[in-house]
């Protein structure tokens, strides 16, 4: 498209510094990021302007290898996907003096919004109280772009867009991805999504056929299984330990895959949540990720890396009485402390990484993005063009105002460091409560290093009624007794990758993401009571594990959390 070419030409004026540097020598420094931004033509930011990540990469990528061609892994559906026929007309739009009666894009005159103001926290003053008392105001007018006040406005964001999302926000996620992951191949690209749940739905359609198996952790995100099942796609579970997926187990499954007895070809896709996995809370360490990637290479697997909790990595847990571990204080330290992503070691371009704003900004934005090799990303947004059409422009405008114009990249890293500290506190509260209130002879856990979930293993073999009662029956008995005691925790069996396989473990999942600290403590105390009752153990003294006065059976029926929560379900958990 003409605008792209124009931008690339302009960028040439800035090559003097770029060519001197070896892009592969050192990670991109955050303080050099803005100096490397190209200055595009104003038309680049217009209504439904075409864009791609190449326009926004900060450093030249030529020293890197190109991604493998993955066409042979694509479904018939993806292979037969062609571009929008009407886009043939787009190339004429740059004709000087042309009047377009082409696209059915309404005039913004008929958008009933004049302006919008947002109050958001200032960088470094992130608490709700500070945001309320001294937040900064971000404004968006209808025609800011025409009036040179901003590169995104209501007239543009509220009109039709591209499947890729707006150039404005695509630039931001491309820069962020280069800063954090710097994929080690040349032709990586990003495109916006309407969230990772949709991205996974679209990725399954792209990489699987009816009857296929995909691999995943033995316990996995229930929605992933339920997304795949109606397509006729099943999930084969890979054994896990405290660091999540075991590469040897995956290797074994693949090496000994028998298409006849399985009734399906050898899997070609791995779906994994490497950080703060749902439901187990497990985080793959650096070496574990390298080993998983090596097995993927050995069996030529394509990897779907789902990383909503990536930035909810925490400081190490030091126990209830020890002082907390030191927390990163600089952006460099923060970034260096993150476990490297599979994307960051992806020399083949075999990873489609899904990022999301849901856990770090707002789930209601329904904005995320994927990163993969350019041909895969192109298939993705071609699909988006005829289905989701890309994320809400209203959401994109709010995120652009906050992230790009408001905080900038350094401010966003500060925010992520803030969130990291907050989730560390929450994790520490639930762990301390577990140590105080739970009978360790029948329940055990590993301190989570990321995410929102604490995964509690119950030693069913010590239950007085086992094996007369099955694991499933015991799980249900404990679940119901827990509800009776006033706590809702999720059954582990709801997260089986495959219910066909034999399972001999018993788990409950508790989230520490939402409830206030005292409620988390009280809930864990109640869970201790549940376990002691079920296993016939001696009860702790009153007030230690007893139900407190405002608990179950009391007259109170008020919302317990910080907001009205009645009627909510286990959405997107």
């Amino acid at each position: 498209m003409a605008p792209s070419a124009a931008i690339e030409t302009e960028a040439v004026t800035d090559t003097s510094t770029i060519t001197v540097l070896n892009p592969l020598a050192a990670p991109l420094k955050i303080n050099e990021l803005y100096g490397r931004r190209k200055t595009p033509l104003k038309s680049q930011w217009g209504v439904a302007a075409v864009s791609n990540s190449e326009l926004f990469k900060l450093r030249p990528q030529e020293g890197k290898p190109k991604a493998k061609n993955w066409d042979y892994r694509l479904s018939q559906e993806a292979l037969s996907r062609k571009g929008n026929s009407l886009k043939q007309a787009a190339k004429f739009l740059a004709t000087p003096g042309l009047i377009s009666l082409g696209g059915g894009i309404p005039t913004s005159e008929y958008f009933p919004f004049d302006s919008l103001m947002l109050k958001v926290p200032r960088v470094g003053h992130f608490s709700e109280a500070e945001a309320h008392a001294s937040g900064m105001i971000l404004e968006s007018g209808k025609h800011d772009l025409l009036e040179d006040k901003s590169i995104l406005d209501i007239a543009t964001a509220f009109n039709y867009g591209q499947g890729t999302g707006t150039a404005q926000l695509l630039r931001w996620v491309t820069e962020h991805t280069e800063l954090v992951h710097d994929p080690p191949y040349q032709d990586w690209a990003c495109t916006l999504t309407v969230g990772s749940t949709s991205a996974l739905d679209m990725a399954f359609r792209m990489f699987t056929e009816k009857g296929d198996y995909v691999l995943s952790e033995e316990y996995t995100f229930a929605t992933a299984v339920e997304t795949a099942a109606p397509m006729g796609v099943k999930v084969a579970g890979v054994k896990m330990d405290a660091q999540g997926l075991l590469p040897d187990s995956m290797d074994e499954i693949l090496t000994h895959w028998d298409p006849v007895s399985r009734g399906a070809r050898k899997p070609t896709v791995l779906y994994t949540v490497p950080t703060g996995q749902n439901p187990t809370g497990a985080t793959q360490g650096h070496a574990r990720r390298r080993a998983i990637y090596a097995v993927a290479q050995k069996h030529d697997l394509y990897i779907l890396e789902d990383e909503p909790y990536y930035f909810l990595q925490m400081d190490p847990y030091t126990g209830p009485d020890a002082p907390p571990a030191p927390t990163p204080t600089t952006h460099e330290e923060f970034l260096k402390n993150l476990v490297p992503s599979l994307l960051s070691m992806d020399v083949d371009g075999r990873v489609l990484r899904m990022d999301s704003f849901s856990k770090v900004i707002s789930p209601g934005s329904r904005v995320g993005w994927i990163t993969a090799s350019e041909p895969i990303v192109r298939k993705y947004y071609m699909h988006a063009d005829v289905s989701t059409q890309g994320p809400s422009g209203m959401s994109q405008l709010l995120l652009f105002k906050l992230l790009d114009e408001g905080w900038g990249h350094p401010g966003y890293l500060d925010w992520l460091m803030h969130i990291r500290a907050e989730y560390t506190k929450r994790r520490d509260v639930i762990l301390a409560a577990c140590e105080t209130h739970l009978p360790k002879e029948v329940v055990s856990w590993v301190p989570p290093m990321a995410g929102m979930f604490h995964w509690l293993q119950v030693k069913y073999e010590k239950h007085p009624r086992y094996p007369a009662k099955s694991i499933t029956e015991l799980e249900d008995e404990i679940f119901m007794r827990n509800v009776g005691n006033g706590v809702l925790m999720m059954k582990g069996s709801w997260f089986y990758a495959s219910s066909e396989e034999r399972h001999d473990t018993l788990f409950f999942r508790a989230t520490f993401a939402a409830a206030p600290f005292d409620r988390i403590q009280e809930a864990i105390r109640r869970f201790g009571k549940t376990l002691r009752e079920s296993f016939g153990l001696e009860m702790l003294e009153d007030g230690e594990d007893g139900v407190v006065s405002n608990g179950v059976g009391g007259k109170e029926n008020k919302p317990l959390g910080h907001h009205v929560t009645n009627g909510h379900t286990g959405k997107a958990v």
Copy 2:
């Protein structure tokens, strides 16, 4: 779910007036709408609260028949779709005193938004200038719901939601649907979508299998064909006239369908755009719709009614010199003047109607809704729960503020009447320009009665080089000559439902939705020049069809519209 039951109980207090009225006797009056709203529990509006249209219908539906069961029309994918397993936990959330460590829903404490302000036009003062000078301010705080300031706030809308959308906006679209369409069966329901493009993608997945044909207008929305094709679903075109799809042609296709020669079973789905059809601009009249519905009943077709342009119905065209037709001045007149929808005559529940805010509020909202029988709607939102997750909460908050708290239903009807008048003006401008500038001996048209498109038929048989040059070659020659003269209009052949079928017509599509009036006039003048050149006709005098000074070849390369448009494509056209 408990909250629903609670609301139904409360609603009983209000039945005295309801039972007296016969709901089928007369259309719902807009002034009685608010008096019929039930008073729900506050928890109904909470984070990811479960809701459904039944809670929000304004009149009892018992006098109506129930919808047919459509399970036998569902795809394997839709039939195998089961509810989210984690929702089994939801029913316990109403337990008094319960602490939930269940759902992984983040606390709103970590949403970096304190408040939001919107400036929108006041009812009756809808122009951009008035909105800017004297618009009204709508505010949303983070915890308005807790503080009893509003039933929707940032803490709720920016968190996870349901596939149905928020209860708050679902109420609004349910009421609007009852007011406008009052479906003649009992168990109709609405659910929000991320726009009709996505809704169509999901509907095809729900009602077709690979290898199927669906029926549609001979010329159809190109994206619909491109959505279906990668699924292995083809479109069979039904002949059209000035009122769009011809029921007799559809009957004939179905009656004589030969599965062997077609290589596909007899179609079971009709996709149609009844109002202001894209690309032809055709609008089915009332009798035409009844006839189409009758053929659908005869062959037991399921109907996908795609209606983005429904409210862009216009006053009749009276010609360039006659005074304009009288425009509706009351809400009742406005509603009565709308051609009845297929949904409004759907006694079987065989219609899935797609509505959209794109053409009447903002395409960038990515919010629309469908209306169909409850079991179909349930399949739809169960799918949404594991894919799109429903529309952006940010968009939903903005729309709720504007439509429900800002304008209300009467104000929204005023807005629709305003838009109707605006599009009528635009339509009249392009028609007058055509009458002035086009050589009627080689081009003809029917004044559109709705939508954004003007469809111009070129009499190729009068072309001096026909049949030496094929219709396709002539179409391309005229298209390119038009671009050379500085106008972009779409080729009719880009809209073939099926390119396998023989076509002996030559059309161009022009939109009058976007360009300023003088640009529309100038573009049509240039098109006249194009046709005269191509057909070797005598040129009009200078200034009549000549290219004006700021046209093609001039030095100007400024955006021509009201906003920056360079680089945009034929999106969603």
